[in-house]
Assembly symmetry: C2
Protein backbone atom coordinates (compact mmCIF):
# COMPACT_ATOMS: atom_id res chain seq x y z
CA UNK A 1 0.00 0.00 0.00
CA UNK A 2 1.59 3.29 -1.07
CA UNK A 3 1.46 6.19 1.37
CA UNK A 4 -1.48 8.55 1.03
CA UNK A 5 -1.00 11.53 -1.25
CA UNK A 6 -1.81 14.76 0.44
CA UNK A 7 -1.71 16.95 -2.66
CA UNK A 8 -4.26 17.00 -5.42
CA UNK A 9 -3.23 14.68 -8.14
CA UNK A 10 -3.51 17.35 -10.83
CA UNK A 11 -0.86 19.71 -9.46
CA UNK A 12 1.57 20.98 -12.04
CA UNK A 13 4.56 18.76 -11.33
CA UNK A 14 2.41 15.70 -11.20
CA UNK A 15 0.76 16.27 -14.54
CA UNK A 16 4.03 17.25 -16.16
CA UNK A 17 5.70 14.08 -14.96
CA UNK A 18 2.69 12.07 -16.01
CA UNK A 19 3.05 13.35 -19.54
CA UNK A 20 6.80 12.75 -19.62
CA UNK A 21 6.26 9.12 -18.71
CA UNK A 22 3.48 8.55 -21.17
CA UNK A 23 5.39 10.27 -23.93
CA UNK A 24 8.29 7.88 -23.47
CA UNK A 25 5.91 4.94 -23.43
CA UNK A 26 3.98 6.08 -26.51
CA UNK A 27 4.61 4.28 -29.74
CA UNK A 28 2.78 1.32 -31.16
CA UNK A 29 5.40 -1.27 -30.25
CA UNK A 30 7.08 0.27 -27.22
CA UNK A 31 5.33 -1.72 -24.46
CA UNK A 32 5.89 -4.96 -26.35
CA UNK A 33 9.57 -4.22 -26.90
CA UNK A 34 10.03 -3.37 -23.23
CA UNK A 35 8.22 -6.56 -22.19
CA UNK A 36 10.63 -8.65 -24.23
CA UNK A 37 13.69 -6.77 -23.02
CA UNK A 38 12.43 -7.27 -19.46
CA UNK A 39 13.22 -10.95 -20.00
CA UNK A 40 16.86 -10.05 -20.64
CA UNK A 41 19.07 -8.66 -23.41
CA UNK A 42 18.08 -9.55 -26.95
CA UNK A 43 19.66 -9.22 -30.36
CA UNK A 44 17.89 -7.35 -33.11
CA UNK A 45 17.01 -10.53 -34.97
CA UNK A 46 15.67 -12.17 -31.82
CA UNK A 47 13.33 -9.28 -31.26
CA UNK A 48 12.22 -9.51 -34.86
CA UNK A 49 11.34 -13.16 -34.43
CA UNK A 50 9.45 -12.40 -31.23
CA UNK A 51 7.50 -9.64 -32.97
CA UNK A 52 6.91 -10.84 -36.53
CA UNK A 53 4.33 -8.10 -37.22
CA UNK A 54 6.83 -5.31 -36.67
CA UNK A 55 8.82 -4.20 -39.69
CA UNK A 56 12.56 -3.71 -39.40
CA UNK A 57 12.08 -0.01 -39.92
CA UNK A 58 9.64 0.36 -37.04
CA UNK A 59 11.63 -1.87 -34.72
CA UNK A 60 14.79 0.14 -35.38
CA UNK A 61 12.95 3.41 -35.01
CA UNK A 62 11.34 2.58 -31.70
CA UNK A 63 14.50 1.05 -30.28
CA UNK A 64 16.41 4.18 -31.24
CA UNK A 65 13.83 6.31 -29.48
CA UNK A 66 14.15 4.24 -26.33
CA UNK A 67 17.92 4.56 -26.60
CA UNK A 68 17.64 8.33 -26.98
CA UNK A 69 15.64 8.43 -23.72
CA UNK A 70 18.24 6.19 -22.01
CA UNK A 71 15.66 3.48 -21.43
CA UNK A 72 17.47 0.97 -23.60
CA UNK A 73 21.16 0.34 -24.13
CA UNK A 74 22.44 -0.58 -27.56
CA UNK A 75 25.65 -2.59 -27.65
CA UNK A 76 27.31 -3.09 -31.01
CA UNK A 77 29.86 -5.88 -31.40
CA UNK A 78 31.90 -4.90 -34.44
CA UNK A 79 31.99 -8.17 -36.30
CA UNK A 80 31.03 -9.34 -39.73
CA UNK A 81 28.18 -10.04 -39.82
CA UNK A 82 27.35 -7.47 -37.14
CA UNK A 83 25.90 -8.37 -33.74
CA UNK A 84 23.79 -5.81 -31.92
CA UNK A 85 22.36 -6.43 -28.49
CA UNK A 86 19.65 -4.40 -26.80
CA UNK A 87 19.07 -4.32 -23.07
CA UNK A 88 17.27 -2.26 -20.45
CA UNK A 89 19.21 0.41 -18.60
CA UNK A 90 18.76 0.63 -14.81
CA UNK A 91 16.08 3.32 -15.19
CA UNK A 92 14.52 1.22 -17.94
CA UNK A 93 14.34 -1.73 -15.56
CA UNK A 94 12.32 0.39 -13.21
CA UNK A 95 9.60 0.65 -15.84
CA UNK A 96 9.00 -3.08 -15.71
CA UNK A 97 6.76 -3.05 -12.60
CA UNK A 98 4.56 -0.50 -14.35
CA UNK A 99 4.13 -2.88 -17.26
CA UNK A 100 3.09 -5.54 -14.77
CA UNK A 101 0.53 -3.22 -13.24
CA UNK A 102 -0.95 -2.34 -16.61
CA UNK A 103 -1.17 -5.99 -17.54
CA UNK A 104 -2.76 -6.87 -14.21
CA UNK A 105 -5.25 -4.04 -14.54
CA UNK A 106 -6.16 -5.17 -18.04
CA UNK A 107 -6.68 -8.69 -16.84
CA UNK A 108 -9.15 -7.45 -14.27
CA UNK A 109 -10.72 -5.13 -16.83
CA UNK A 110 -11.24 -7.90 -19.36
CA UNK A 111 -12.72 -10.18 -16.71
CA UNK A 112 -15.13 -7.49 -15.65
CA UNK A 113 -16.22 -6.87 -19.21
CA UNK A 114 -16.78 -10.60 -19.67
CA UNK A 115 -18.87 -10.75 -16.51
CA UNK A 116 -21.03 -7.89 -17.66
CA UNK A 117 -21.26 -9.38 -21.13
CA UNK A 118 -20.01 -6.19 -22.73
CA UNK A 119 -18.40 -6.11 -26.20
Amino acid sequence: MPEERTHKVSCTNYTYELEVGFEILSGKWIPLILAHLADGPHRFGQLRRLMPDVTKKMLTQQLRNLEKYSIVHREVYPQVPPVVEYSLTPIGQKLVPILHHVSDWSHEYLQLRDQLGLN
Copy 2:
Protein backbone atom coordinates in the same frame (compact mmCIF):
# COMPACT_ATOMS: atom_id res chain seq x y z
CA MET B 1 6.85 -5.90 -3.00
CA PRO B 2 4.82 -7.87 -5.57
CA GLU B 3 5.20 -11.61 -5.62
CA GLU B 4 7.75 -13.00 -8.04
CA ARG B 5 6.49 -13.84 -11.48
CA THR B 6 7.35 -17.34 -12.52
CA HIS B 7 6.40 -17.00 -16.17
CA LYS B 8 8.28 -15.07 -18.79
CA VAL B 9 6.88 -11.64 -19.09
CA SER B 10 6.40 -11.91 -22.82
CA CYS B 11 3.96 -14.83 -22.79
CA THR B 12 0.92 -14.35 -24.98
CA ASN B 13 -1.66 -13.37 -22.38
CA TYR B 14 0.69 -10.95 -20.77
CA THR B 15 1.53 -9.12 -23.95
CA TYR B 16 -2.09 -9.09 -25.08
CA GLU B 17 -3.20 -7.55 -21.81
CA LEU B 18 -0.34 -5.10 -21.96
CA GLU B 19 -1.55 -3.85 -25.31
CA VAL B 20 -5.18 -3.64 -24.17
CA GLY B 21 -4.18 -1.40 -21.30
CA PHE B 22 -1.95 0.82 -23.35
CA GLU B 23 -4.53 1.12 -26.08
CA ILE B 24 -7.07 2.44 -23.59
CA LEU B 25 -4.49 4.84 -22.21
CA SER B 26 -3.37 6.08 -25.61
CA GLY B 27 -4.54 9.48 -26.72
CA LYS B 28 -2.82 12.80 -26.26
CA TRP B 29 -4.98 14.00 -23.37
CA ILE B 30 -6.08 10.74 -21.74
CA PRO B 31 -3.63 10.64 -18.82
CA LEU B 32 -4.32 14.29 -18.01
CA ILE B 33 -8.10 13.77 -18.11
CA LEU B 34 -7.81 10.75 -15.84
CA ALA B 35 -5.58 12.67 -13.43
CA HIS B 36 -8.20 15.36 -13.08
CA LEU B 37 -11.07 12.92 -12.72
CA ALA B 38 -9.03 11.13 -10.04
CA ASP B 39 -9.64 14.22 -7.90
CA GLY B 40 -13.39 13.66 -8.16
CA PRO B 41 -16.24 14.19 -10.63
CA HIS B 42 -15.96 17.20 -12.90
CA ARG B 43 -18.26 19.01 -15.27
CA PHE B 44 -17.27 19.48 -18.88
CA GLY B 45 -16.58 23.16 -18.41
CA GLN B 46 -14.46 22.53 -15.32
CA LEU B 47 -12.29 20.13 -17.26
CA ARG B 48 -11.97 22.71 -20.01
CA ARG B 49 -10.73 25.30 -17.56
CA LEU B 50 -8.27 22.81 -16.08
CA MET B 51 -6.97 21.98 -19.56
CA PRO B 52 -7.05 25.20 -21.55
CA ASP B 53 -4.91 23.74 -24.36
CA VAL B 54 -7.43 21.05 -25.21
CA THR B 55 -10.10 21.99 -27.72
CA LYS B 56 -13.73 21.14 -26.99
CA LYS B 57 -13.66 18.67 -29.83
CA MET B 58 -10.70 16.76 -28.49
CA LEU B 59 -11.95 16.81 -24.92
CA THR B 60 -15.32 15.44 -26.01
CA GLN B 61 -13.72 12.86 -28.23
CA GLN B 62 -11.37 11.50 -25.62
CA LEU B 63 -14.03 11.51 -22.89
CA ARG B 64 -16.33 9.58 -25.20
CA ASN B 65 -13.62 7.03 -25.82
CA LEU B 66 -13.09 6.57 -22.10
CA GLU B 67 -16.85 6.19 -21.71
CA LYS B 68 -16.93 3.58 -24.45
CA TYR B 69 -14.31 1.59 -22.55
CA SER B 70 -16.29 2.00 -19.29
CA ILE B 71 -13.44 3.91 -17.67
CA VAL B 72 -15.49 7.05 -17.30
CA HIS B 73 -19.15 7.57 -16.47
CA ARG B 74 -21.08 10.39 -18.15
CA GLU B 75 -24.05 11.72 -16.24
CA VAL B 76 -26.35 14.12 -18.02
CA TYR B 77 -28.69 16.30 -15.98
CA PRO B 78 -31.42 17.31 -18.40
CA GLN B 79 -31.64 21.01 -17.66
CA VAL B 80 -31.35 24.18 -19.66
CA PRO B 81 -28.53 24.99 -19.90
CA PRO B 82 -27.33 21.39 -19.75
CA VAL B 83 -25.14 20.01 -16.97
CA VAL B 84 -22.89 17.05 -17.73
CA GLU B 85 -20.71 15.45 -15.11
CA TYR B 86 -17.88 13.04 -15.74
CA SER B 87 -16.51 10.64 -13.14
CA LEU B 88 -14.34 7.56 -12.93
CA THR B 89 -16.05 4.17 -12.86
CA PRO B 90 -14.81 1.60 -10.32
CA ILE B 91 -12.50 0.02 -12.88
CA GLY B 92 -11.43 3.49 -13.92
CA GLN B 93 -10.51 4.24 -10.29
CA LYS B 94 -8.20 1.29 -10.37
CA LEU B 95 -6.13 2.97 -13.04
CA VAL B 96 -5.22 5.80 -10.70
CA PRO B 97 -2.39 3.97 -8.90
CA ILE B 98 -0.83 3.30 -12.29
CA LEU B 99 -0.85 7.02 -13.01
CA HIS B 100 0.92 7.55 -9.69
CA HIS B 101 3.55 5.00 -10.60
CA VAL B 102 4.20 6.58 -13.96
CA SER B 103 4.53 10.00 -12.38
CA ASP B 104 6.84 8.66 -9.69
CA TRP B 105 8.96 6.90 -12.27
CA SER B 106 9.20 10.07 -14.34
CA HIS B 107 10.23 12.04 -11.29
CA GLU B 108 13.08 9.64 -10.72
CA TYR B 109 13.88 9.62 -14.43
CA LEU B 110 14.08 13.40 -14.64
CA GLN B 111 16.28 13.56 -11.53
CA LEU B 112 18.63 11.02 -13.01
CA ARG B 113 18.88 12.93 -16.27
CA ASP B 114 19.63 16.10 -14.33
CA GLN B 115 22.35 14.36 -12.35
CA LEU B 116 23.97 13.07 -15.50
CA GLY B 117 23.60 16.43 -17.17
CA LEU B 118 21.74 14.93 -20.10
CA ASN B 119 19.40 16.97 -22.32
